[in-house]
């Protein structure tokens, strides 16, 4: 059981895909301007990583080793298209706002990385949990970054004005470079909190 607990907790804290493995940086810079978009993106990635790890794990004994990458891609692409279609049907404006980045979940290193590293060698249920947990670890950072960017850059949260009218909006925070600086700060905080992550 402790093994299962580690499978779930590790990707969120100790080996967080963004702050420790430094994967999925491009999308975390692009979709974190608004909290709403970041939340939708986070949920989409959680679903895609979870389900594709699950499916790839079911297929793991039948996939020939030499063509495994392309088979994984097909699985991931299927999940991404499903998510994209659902978003188009029910949350059209958000889907438009996220534009290509939903489609680009296919190329998100976290998805392929977890299939390669975990799903191909483990049973379906742990693989599903591992995928979901990695998605949560990714989404968590996304939401934290988006919280600060929307608050400082637009003075709003989920589109509602939070800061008083006299607050002068900071344009730099809207620009992608600032997301990188914020990510750096989160990594900094994470590392000074968790002594195991510090290089000697």
């Amino acid at each position: 059981m402790s093994n299962l607990k580690e499978t779930i907790l590790n990707p969120i804290l100790k080996s967080n895909p963004i702050t420790v493995l430094v994967l999925g940086i491009c999308s975390s810079l692009a979709v974190t301007v608004q909290l709403k978009g970041a939340c939708v993106m986070a949920i989409s990635v959680i679903i895609v990583t979870g389900l594709s790890s699950f499916v790839a794990s079911i297929l793991r004994n039948t996939i020939p080793n030499r063509v495994r990458i392309i088979v994984q891609l097909v699985v991931v692409a299927l999940m991404v298209i499903l998510v994209d279609q659902i978003l188009k049907a029910y949350m059209y404006t958000v889907e438009k706002q996220l534009s290509v980045y939903i489609g680009l979940i296919i190329t998100n290193c976290i998805v392929m990385g977890r299939i390669e590293a975990f799903a191909l060698g483990n049973k379906p249920i742990p693989s599903l949990l591992d995928g979901l947990a990695n998605g949560v670890g990714y989404g968590l950072i996304l939401v934290i970054v988006a919280f600060f960017r929307e608050l400082i850059g637009s003075g709003t949260l989920f589109g509602f004005r939070v800061l008083p009218e006299g607050y002068v909006l900071n344009n730099l925070v809207i620009l992608p470079p600032f997301a990188l600086i914020l990510l750096g700060c989160i990594i900094w905080a994470h590392r000074s909190f968790d002594k195991d992550l510090q290089e000697k």
């Binding site: 002068v168 900071n170 344009n171 730099l172 620009l175 600086i181």
Partner: protein
């Protein structure tokens, strides 16, 4: 130094702060008792003082110009040199206070945490920051920008001497991208007392934004050379900056190669712009426009962030001049390119040095093999 601040003393955690005040601007007379140390009169403290002396003419002229522009704006044409200077002094002083209090505060705290000596590095950056911002910038914005530049531009890289980008320019870049409304246009460069409105037909836009054509105070060559035009506090007067340049070159503090390279690069691209018919003014005018002179003399030559090799300094300087003019001539988005050009060249300075050193080594190796 009092014993309680030494190692093991009660107040040892304040060691850096006390040390900084005790050795402020000079090295104390206490000498090492054992061993021989070769000492040269020039050290970090003296270099920084020379830079501040060199920038003083630009700062003093800038203060006067703030008052002069204010008089022009309210339609007061009488000549009152002292009154103008006093008005500008009172306007610029708060900028200096904010710049030094915030910057040095963070610097002291960071040195204290790291247990290092506080160095005077920020004295120069803090002196430059008010000179390259619009005089009307709200003080809280300046405070945020200085804090950002010192923390993310300097302390995270390890403090004085370790930074990749010029902290003063980072402050300006932060303001420029964060609060574009307060950093450009025709309202920010002129300071007015509350309740005062400019006279009809007065525009506070800088010559660079106006392309030197239709400004009402005849932004001709001499106006811009002397510096009686709107602009950031310390960058308008080419004469004052040239005095600073002479001091810097004469004392050997700043590299003349970087300054010369910047001018050559700017003239080369400016000439292309002239020949292609893109630029609205002759290329030599670009040298006295906007922040070019100030950037070339004081910002590009920052010994920490510029290239270190002799050949590299030429490449670095030419890169800055050429990039600055490219932004001015070929980019519709930004009027001024000096800040962006220097920050860009700062990022490439280590690469330039690396290439220069390696090509030197391989050239020597070839000669050795041929012999």
């Amino acid at each position: 130094m009092n014993k309680i601040f030494e190692k093991g003393g009660k107040l040892h955690w304040l060691h850096s702060t006390v040390d900084a005040f005790e050795t402020f601007l000079h090295v104390p007379g206490t000498v090492t008792l054992k061993g021989a140390h070769v000492r040269d009169a020039i050290d970090l403290k003296r270099i920084l003082i020379i830079v501040i002396v060199a920038a003083a003419p630009a700062a003093l002229f800038g203060m006067w110009n703030v008052g002069y522009q204010h008089s022009l704006a309210i339609g007061n044409t009488g000549i009152d040199i002292l009154g103008n200077f006093w008005y500008g002094f009172l306007k610029v002083l708060p900028l200096y206070v904010v710049s030094y209090v915030v910057g040095l505060g963070i610097e002291f705290a960071a040195s204290q945490i790291r247990g290092e000596e506080v160095s005077e590095g920020f004295l120069v950056s803090g002196f430059f920051i008010p000179l390259i911002v619009p005089v009307d910038i709200p003080l809280w914005m300046l405070a945020i920008a200085v804090a950002f530049a010192v923390i993310f531009g300097k302390e995270v890289f390890g403090g004085t001497g370790m930074n990749i980008w010029n902290p003063a320019l980072l402050t300006r870049a932060f303001l420029f991208f964060s609060y574009p409304n307060q950093m450009s246009g025709s309202n920010c460069w002129i300071s007015l007392r509350p309740g005062e409105t400019p006279v009809d037909g007065f525009t506070g836009a800088t010559p660079l934004a106006l392309d030197g054509a239709q400004a009402q105070y005849g932004t001709g060559f001499w106006d811009m050379f002397i510096g009686t035009v709107p602009g950031s506090v310390g960058e308008t007067s080419v004469i004052a900056i040239l005095i600073g340049a002479i001091i810097l070159i004469w004392t050997g503090v700043a590299s003349w190669k970087i300054m010369a390279g910047t001018v050559i690069g700017a003239l080369a691209v400016g000439l292309i712009g002239d020949l292609a018919g893109i630029s609205k003014v002759p290329c030599y005018m670009q040298l006295i426009y906007g922040g070019f002179a100030f950037g070339a003399v004081f910002m590009a030559t920052d010994p920490v962030t510029s290239a270190q090799t002799e050949c590299g300094k030429w490449i670095y300087g030419i890169l800055i001049g050429a990039l600055c003019l490219m932004v001015r001539l070929f980019n519709p988005g930004y009027v001024e390119g000096m800040m962006l050009a220097i920050l860009f060249a700062n990022s490439f300075a280590p690469l330039i040095d690396h290439i220069v050193v390696n090509s030197h080594i391989s050239r020597k190796a070839k000669r050795l093999n041929a012999a």
